[in-house]
């Protein structure tokens, strides 16, 4: 075992407690809400912001933006209410860590919400929970009720004079509502489509008021940072990717699941030590390291550490922490078809390149996979991707284009073989779903 093996779990520590169900008494019995007692009325909000800044905590939703810096963008004297919105609309394919935190350790999120609201001067916070998370929404509702009963929410929390109300809102089934401004539109009762930026939500967010949108996992870190100090947090993982991270490992591994680890873990360790390697003795072919929108990596990249910057350096991204492992029986064209089908389905449709491009990508990839590809399709796909990237209101268009580009970059021969053979060479192979 490497040093990451000795890592003490933070966000998923509850997993070591037998019979733990995440209720308020259980959470409190194991140190829950201590940070709240320590901070509320005893630390100035600015000190809380400063502590989070010093912790180096980066957003766990996908972009990896420094959390404290995001909070710091809230104008001090806008005269408008400030809102905190919890992004629980986890929908990036391959990602299933927020769902676990919501269902199993909900008070950790809520404590993070209360502390963060205190820091940014928010008195009304919204939990935006993915609509498909029926159980999660029930758990969150129970959690909010428990916190109100105990006086952790409502007026004058813990005698500090700080008031906070929390409202849960359930999404209606759209990936794009995980994009923070799409989420805000949805929360306002409108069609979920991202807003042009600037202005950013910190200046003009929910109901055009200063708003912080933070991911579930990001907020779950806050109580620990404030209780144990930013220095404790920065000691975990590489200097610019501090703190623990949940990796959702899926695909061709022996033990798929969520793994909480420092981001100094290598891809090799994650797959072969933690997730138990590839079953059946088959060879690794490709890995999506940060959710379906991240460019694919190959066995040549196995020694990359799973921090934001190292993954960027090899041309991919940490994204949402979803690691999808694919072995040698996987058809990369089929992967492209599936991934592009997802973005085709989920594009909100407001920007031309994304609305039309996601559909076109999907159609061409489907055609190639089904033996109808043309030689010129590959350059067409690349040019299409170029026309889609960096030109739209949000990054869904980029998210649709980047993986396809990477599949073509690393597995072009496989695409060419589909076209040459006028068929998928993997069709009927062991372990591969027939079309």
């Amino acid at each position: 075992m490497t040093e990451t093996g000795a890592f003490e779990k933070v966000l998923t520590r509850y997993q070591t407690i037998p019979g733990y169900r995440g209720t308020l008494p259980e959470y409190e019995a194991h140190g829950g809400y201590q940070a709240l007692h320590t901070v509320l009325g005893k630390m100035a909000p600015a000190e809380v912001v400063d502590a989070v800044k010093r912790s180096g905590l980066r957003g766990r939703g996908g972009a990896g933006f420094p959390c404290g810096m995001k909070w710091g963008f809230i104008p001090k004297d806008s005269g408008k209410p400030v809102y905190l919105v919890v992004n629980g609309d986890e929908s990036e394919p391959g990602t299933f860590k927020d769902r676990m935190l919501i269902e199993e350790e909900p008070h950790q999120i809520l404590e993070g919400v209360i502390l963060s609201s205190y820091a940014i001067g928010c008195h009304l916070a919204f939990l935006y929970c993915r609509g498909e998370f029926v159980r999660g929404a029930q758990v969150l509702q129970r959690t909010i009720a428990e916190a109100y009963d105990k006086g952790y929410l409502g007026r004058n929390i813990l005698g500090s004079g700080f008031d906070l109300d929390v409202i849960q809102h359930r999404g209606a089934g759209a990936y794009i509502c995980g994009e923070e401004t799409g989420l805000l539109e949805s929360l306002e009762g409108k069609r979920g489509q991202p807003r042009p930026k600037p202005p950013f939500p910190a200046v003009s967010g929910l109901y055009r008021c200063p708003t912080v949108v933070n991911n579930v996992e990001t907020l779950s870190n806050i109580p620990h940072i404030l209780l144990r100090g930013p220095e404790w947090f920065t000691a975990i993982g590489p200097p610019k990717s501090t703190g623990p991270r949940l990796f959702s490992v899926s695909g061709h591994v022996a033990r798929p699941g969520n793994y909480e680890l420092p981001m100094s873990v290598t891809l090799r360790q994650l797959i072969f030590e933690h997730a138990g390697g590839i079953p059946g003795g088959r060879a690794l072919k490709a890995v999506i390291p940060g959710g379906s929108s991240s460019p694919v990596l190959t066995p040549a990249h196995l020694d990359v550490t799973m921090d934001f910057d190292s993954l960027a350096a090899v041309g991919s991204m940490g994204g949402s922490g979803a690691v999808v492992v694919m072995d040698e029986t996987t058809c990369m064209v089929r992967v492209g078809e599936i991934v592009s089908r997802f973005y085709h389905h989920e594009s909100c449709g407001q920007c031309t390149q994304c609305r039309e491009g996601t559909a076109w990508l999907h159609k061409v990839l489907r055609r190639i996979e089904h033996g109808q590809g043309r030689k010129e399709d590959l350059d067409l796909l690349l040019d299409m991707c170029d026309n889609m990237k960096g030109k739209t209101i949000c990054v869904l268009s980029d998210a649709a284009a980047m993986p396809i580009e990477s599949y073509l970059k690393h597995f072009r021969d496989e695409f060419e073989r589909h076209i040459r053979d006028r068929a998928c060479p993997f069709a009927g192979a062991a372990g591969v779903r027939k079309h």
Partner: protein, 543 residues
């Protein structure tokens, strides 16, 4: 006042502006679809992307503020590629049915594709099929396949009439614009969505398949005559075998009056010009019947009857009610003829209560006004009102019934219809001479001894003064139908026969006389009345 460089040209904007507005002010075209100056900015079509020095990505010109020292390029290879790509994406699912599309020839999608787009498609995929010719409301038909989802129509309905009938439904390339359940696109301004649609998705039920843009021989600037707002319009005329035909009215931008909009009533009410029931020849009464007659003969008989009444009863037995639908020039001549030449004080333009000064009011918060005539303000300015001891409209009807009035001229008003509270029919039956001008037979015309066929506004030259006091010109788009004659010719003909020539004839000559006399229009030269009109008091303020 940002000073920036666009394509190497230094541009200074008059105030805060977006890159798109700054470029427009310098005459540099940045193609766009979703942006419209009268609507909120959404930045969705991505057509207006430009390159700005030191910015890593292309930016949308419509929602990026112009800033001091900014260096903008609208024609770099990077911009041109992005633009070509947007057009290619648009055309993936566009039916390319330009040859049968109403918009073909005046279509921004067609124009930009020709100018900036790819020559041919790289797509071999089947196009998404959608609903065709969907009736959205009384005036608008929707072709979903042509729609490029710019959402201008949606924003218009939300932001201008604030009725919000339209929305986007579904996502991605399944997105479609449609009516919300239970709604119809039937607000009073619905026709504007046809104008602002940058493709042929929203077409006019009235104009649909009536013409190709290049068959329209005239685009005549005019002013809508249907209320006192004075919305600026363009009259589109096609030359047909049956003669010139007015096919379409579109609003003309005038920021001081109607901005880019007009109401549906104004837009779609003009077919009367070509109505087969329209009066084409004068009518004269013999016995209980009216029959058509040659204009000169009718003028002769009216003049001789008038001369007889003048001699026997005096000028004060003659009354005149003239609609404020008439131009300033027509009103001036009517006033001159009755007040100055015949010297009767009984002249009025006020038929409806709303025409009393200051009772004309906004009908909504947009354009429409309660005075449904175009020129009450002008009629007041020109004193088309009773003179000393003169009778107003109700007074004239009363006097006619009492036998104190012998002759009444009614210019373009159906008094019987408009004033059911007055004994119009009784009064008119007792008169020795009733002369009416009208486009159609109506209850009042039926009582007349002589009816002259009137002109529609599209057949006139002249000016209206809107509720603001803004003088605006209307121009002739159609030659007068049949034997219809301008008021100037009718009055000129009568005056000549009475030995009191009226003098001036053309609108410009008449205006020169108006401007020469004291009054609100004194000193306003005909040439000063430009395409956006003129408010005399505003001109005089300038040194």
């Amino acid at each position: 006042m940002p000073k920036l460089t666009i394509n190497g040209i230094e541009v200074t904007t008059a105030g805060p502006a977006t890159i798109l507005e700054a470029a427009k002010s310098a005459g540099i075209e940045i193609p766009h679809y979703c942006y419209h100056p009268g609507l909120s900015i959404v930045g969705q079509c991505r057509m207006c992307q430009v390159e700005v020095e030191k910015m890593p990505k292309l930016v949308t010109a419509c929602n990026t503020s112009a800033a001091d020292g900014m260096v903008v390029t609208t024609n770099s290879p990077k911009v041109e590629k992005a633009r070509r790509a947007v057009l290619e994406f648009y055309l993936l699912n566009h039916p390319l049915d330009c040859p049968i599309c109403d918009r073909g020839g005046e279509c921004p999608l067609q124009d930009y594709t020709m100018k900036y787009g790819p020559g041919e498609s790289r797509s071999v995929e089947p196009k998404v099929q959608r609903a065709k010719h969907v009736v959205l409301g009384p005036h608008v038909i929707f072709d979903q396949e042509r729609c490029i989802l710019c959402t201008r129509c949606i924003r218009f309905c939300r932001e201008v009439p604030k009725t919000g009938e339209l929305g986007v439904f579904a996502r991605g390339d399944r997105s479609e614009i449609n009516l919300f359940p239970g709604q119809m696109l039937d607000n009073a301004y619905s026709g504007n969505v046809i104008d602002i649609c940058p493709v042929g998705a929203l077409t006019s039920r009235q104009y649909r398949f009536q013409s190709r843009p290049w068959d329209l021989i005239r685009h005549t600037h005019s002013v809508c005559p249907l209320c006192s707002a004075g919305c600026n319009v363009v009259l589109d005329v096609r030359d047909k075998q049956s003669g010139n035909e007015l096919l379409r009215i579109n609003p003309r931008e005038n920021m001081a009056v109607n901005r880019w909009w007009m109401c549906d009533e104004g837009r779609f009410t003009f077919r009367y010009h070509h109505d087969p029931d329209r009066l084409m020849l004068p009518l004269v009464k013999s016995g209980d019947q009216q029959h058509t007659s040659a204009p000169e003969a009718v003028l002769d008989s009216v003049a001789s009857a008038l001369a007889h009444i003048l001699a026997a009863q005096g000028a004060s037995s003659i009354g005149c009610i003239v609609s404020s639908r008439h131009t300033n020039e027509e009103l001036f001549l009517v006033r001159r003829f009755f007040r100055d030449l015949l010297q009767t004080p009984h002249v009025d333009h006020r038929v409806r209560p709303v025409q009393m000064q200051a009772s004309d009011a906004p009908e909504d918060a947009i354009l429409r006004r309660t005075d449904k005539t175009a020129n009450s303000h002008g009629a007041r300015d020109l004193d088309v009102l009773p003179g000393p001891d003169g009778l107003d409209t109700a007074g004239m009807i009363e006097a006619a019934r009492a036998g104190r009035l012998k002759a009444l001229f009614v210019f373009d008003e159906d008094l019987a219809q408009e004033r059911p509270d007055l004994p119009v029919a009784d009064a008119l039956r007792g008169l020795d001479l009733v002369v009416v001008t009208s486009l159609f037979r109506h209850a009042t015309a039926a009582l007349a001894h002589a009816v002259f066929p009137g002109l529609g506004f599209a057949e006139k030259e002249g000016s209206f003064t809107n509720y603001q006091g803004r003088i605006q010109k209307i121009h002739r788009a159609l030659e007068p139908a049949g034997a219809c004659r301008p008021v100037a010719e009718i009055l000129g003909g009568l005056a000549g026969r009475l030995g009191k020539p009226l003098g001036v004839v053309t609108p410009e000559q008449i205006w020169t006389e108006i401007a020469a006399q004291p009054g609100p229009y004194h000193g306003i030269d005909w040439q000063m009345i430009g395409p956006e009109g003129i408010i005399p008091s505003e001109v005089r303020k300038e040194p």
